[in-house]
């Protein structure tokens, strides 16, 4: 836990990079050749993507998410023309001492 309000804490921010606006052949193949081929019905779509986890020190969880989203945009971790950044969640990892 953060020792005080100034230093803040240590957070693990989970993000995924997925395609937008263009076909996702990996997701389509997983749906068609694995899920549907196994006889399961009811799954309508599979989306593929890349997962990244950032451990970051920040004043609070909201600040950690915002900092990670900003750096992903600014450093072109994803390409906004073709990708969407999904924030999957944030975990408090304690003070990080």
């Amino acid at each position: 836990m953060p020792m005080n309000g100034v230093k803040g804490g240590r957070y693990l921010v989970h993000v995924a990079i997925t395609l937008k606006g263009s076909r996702d052949p990996e997701g389509e193949t997983i749906l068609k050749d694995v899920v549907t081929a196994s006889g399961l019905s009811g799954v309508l779509k599979v989306r593929s993507g890349k997962y990244l986890g950032f451990v970051i020190s920040a004043p609070n969880a909201e600040g950690a998410v915002k900092a990670v989203a900003d750096l992903c945009y600014r450093l072109r971790i994803y390409n906004p023309t073709v990708h969407e950044l999904l924030v999957l969640g944030v975990e408090d990892e304690g003070s990080g001492d």
């Binding site: 263009s22 076909r23 990996e26 072109r76 971790i77 023309t81």
Partner: protein, 222 residues
């Protein structure tokens, strides 16, 4: 006339490119480790194919942030010819020197085969010796070559796949150039299509004119 062929960790097309430049078309080419590269003293740059940094994050994404790309960016703004082949094309797109994006192939698999490309723009230092609309044979070998751009009207397409579109590229685009035309990237491998010994039956050495174009452009002063 000196051409730098840049080698990153995971580059594998460097020696083939240097071989064609040095032995087939008679330019002087040096293979240069990316950390040692300085643009000073070079008239042109080729970023060859391979799997720089193991394609981590996205193909070309890590190499595009290297100091070598800062040097290449300066050379590009000076109007010097810059060519990216396959992973080199991905690096140029990731660095913003060329527009658009290269996405995983559709259908989603690695494609290694000979294809035909059509030359749409002969006003680049790498295509000056082709005829407009000429069809040339070259092999492709990539998993992330699906060219995508949201504005297809503004893009300076230089090569399109002729016949089949092997990777789902928008408008069958196989290679593009910067607005000035001095920066060119393409997914097919011209260095593997420049000598008779490497060309399978039914195809021609469609890459040779690209290197001859570079030589002529440098001699005439691009």
């Amino acid at each position: 006339m000196r051409v730098a062929v840049i080698r990153f960790p995971g580059t594998n097309g460097d020696l083939d490119v240097a071989h064609v430049l040095n032995r087939v078309v008679g330019l002087r080419a040096d293979v240069v480790w990316h950390e040692k590269f300085e643009g000073e003293g070079y008239d042109a740059v080729v970023i060859p194919g391979g799997f720089s940094y193991g394609d981590w994050l996205r193909a070309g994404a890590i190499a595009s942030r290297s100091p070598a790309l800062k040097e290449i960016r300066e050379m590009a703004s000076d109007g010097k010819p810059i060519l990216g082949i396959c992973n080199g094309f991905q690096i140029l797109v990731e660095s913003g020197l060329l527009p658009g994006a290269l996405l995983p192939n559709d259908p989603p698999r690695f494609m290694a085969r000979w294809v035909r490309v059509k030359v749409l723009n002969t006003k680049t230092p790498f295509t000056a010796m082709y005829n407009d609309g000429e069809v040339a044979s070259m092999p492709i070998a990539h998993g992330e070559g699906r060219y995508y751009i949201d504005n297809t009207i503004s893009v300076n397409a230089v090569f399109t796949y002729h016949g089949e579109n092997p990777n789902g590229s928008i408008n069958s685009i196989a290679g593009v150039a910067s607005g000035d035309g001095n920066v060119v990237g393409l997914m097919p491998h011209p260095e593997r299509a420049s000598e008779d010994a490497l060309v399978p039956r039914g195809h021609g050495k469609g890459g040779l004119k690209l290197w001859l174009s570079l030589r002529e452009s440098l001699l005439r002063g691009w």
